[in-house]
Symmetry: C2
Subunit: 307 residues, 2 copies
């Protein structure tokens, strides 16, 4: 099984009610790749970094089976940098700084060796670039998952709609689902969005879990109630990485298996928020993941004899 | 099995984005009783109404096995009246009018025939009155469930804390759990609140479902994603009524059975919001409830082979 992930590799500076870090590793493709590498050992990364991205981080990724051939290193520019501050509820944040740096010139090229891949995860990025990656693939992947955000709905809606026609699974949060569809009810929003192209829609609700829609079916995955949410940065990307990593491992893209994949994604996200940056994703073991998955089973398991 | 429910029986005027009603039946004990009467046929009501509360509504309640001996009718005063307007998201509302009327003199008296009841549902009410009902019962019920709200935390916190020491299950929403505990994390909030008395805590999160805490266990019940939420008024009381009605019917107050009871409460709440007022609760059949419960099973059911 092979998986291409496309997105940013970056530096973040983060302030939460529980602490502050000046410059740590971040980026959507970083989180996706680390999460997915817990399930498959051939993650084909497409991204761009500057001269300042640490060589030891690149080595760490390679060691975990993440293939870096599609990662462009720009020798005379800095890596993408984002800085944000979370509010007390940890569900909302203010962006303080966005330094595009290398991202201004990003033109993702699919290496020849990546051709024929079965799974494609398009991280949050300019829709034109997401479309360009799809168009470069000579054989359509078995499953294309796309993450996006309200920013692209504001400034590049037509491009976004064009790429939506080409994908299988869309990932958005509840506010974005409402914006994209013009519907307040998430059930109605899902119908409108699935008419735009994707056969599956995942609506992420942060600490309130996630919904998976497909045809007339809906599945709800809870988020694990946590004592401490240390840093929510990357939780959505980690969710995506766990989701597609599990699908790529099991090679089963049925609705039933996607339910399980969403629980796996939620479990990975619950690890991500326990530390600043992607560190927690590097240290967890298979046993840790299994134990966390058991907690999810416990969390929602009930018996019912119809009344 | 017998169940005492204490709370208001009232008139509401409601405005939602989907419509407006001038004067319909409302009140916490009304919703609780109608919901619970779908499961048990001996609901012992304690409330107060004015001369204007419709006789045919009282008859309808009696027909459903709701015993009205504990409902005081004040001949020269009007019933409690509440008026509110919901925002577009239906999660928040503004109170427009609160006419206490008969509620100013409410001094709940437990009729002799109610003594020995096994289940007690204390609807949202002044904590002193809730405590007075507990103190009037010569045999402590098997299970005491209490609903309250932020208003009482603001103006009668000491009274509320006194009654919390005497109950088994507390029902609050997420904001109220945070206010009562002083903790942002709901997991931490639950620990603090369970130290105040209740062995079980249910945190209601509206369209985001509900959490049940007990000792070190947590259970999550989703809300059913609905195409239309017509009127959320009474949904929390209906949830409570379904919850305690199911427990009273099954006579099993274990954590395992409470999980099922919360799903039943969520199912009843999902009916409640489909029409203005409690009307929907009067027309549903056992088959409707069973079908809705199956939808909940589908909603959260997944298979997992540990990875």
């Amino acid at each position: 099984m092979s998986l291409i992930t496309v997105g940013t590799m970056a530096f973040d500076a983060i302030e939460t009610p529980f602490g502050k870090v000046e410059k740590i590793i971040g980026g959507s493709a970083t989180y996706v790749a680390y999460a997915a590498s817990n399930f498959i050992n051939k993650v084909q990364q497409i991204s761009i970094v500057g001269y300042d991205f640490p060589e030891d981080e690149m080595q760490e990724m390679k060691k975990r089976g993440i293939i870096m051939e599609g990662v462009e290193v720009v020798p005379d520019k800095k890596s993408f940098f984002w800085s944000g501050r979370y509010h007390l509820d940890m569900n909302t944040r203010d962006t303080l700084i966005t330094d595009l740096n290398v991202l201004e010139d990003f033109n993702p090229i699919v290496p020849e060796s990546y051709q024929g891949t079965e799974f494609l995860m398009l991280g949050n990025l300019m829709p034109k670039l997401q479309l360009s990656v799809i168009n470069q693939l000579r054989v359509r992947p078995k499953l294309i998952v796309l993450d996006t955000m309200n920013f692209w709905m504001d400034i590049a809606l037509d491009d976004l709609k064009a790429v939506l026609k080409k994908i299988d699974v869309l990932l958005v949060n509840d506010g974005e689902a409402r914006q994209l569809s013009g519907e307040v009810s998430l059930v109605k929003a899902a119908k409108v969005i699935m008419n735009m192209g994707p056969r599956f829609l995942i609506i992420k609700k942060g600490e309130h879990g996630a919904l998976l829609f497909h045809e007339n079916h809906v599945f709800f995955a809870p988020a694990l109630p946590l004592e401490e949410v240390f840093d929510p940065t990357g939780a959505g990307d980690t969710f995506a990485g766990g989701f597609i990593g599990y699908l790529a491992k099991t090679k089963d893209i049925s609705f039933e298996n996607m339910k399980t994949a969403i629980i796996v994604g939620s479990a990975m996200a619950s690890f991500c928020v326990e530390k600043f940056g992607p560190d927690r994703l590097k240290e967890i073991s298979k046993a840790d993941i299994d134990e966390r998955l058991s907690e999810f089973v416990q969390l929602v398991n009930f018996d019912i004899d119809l009344v």
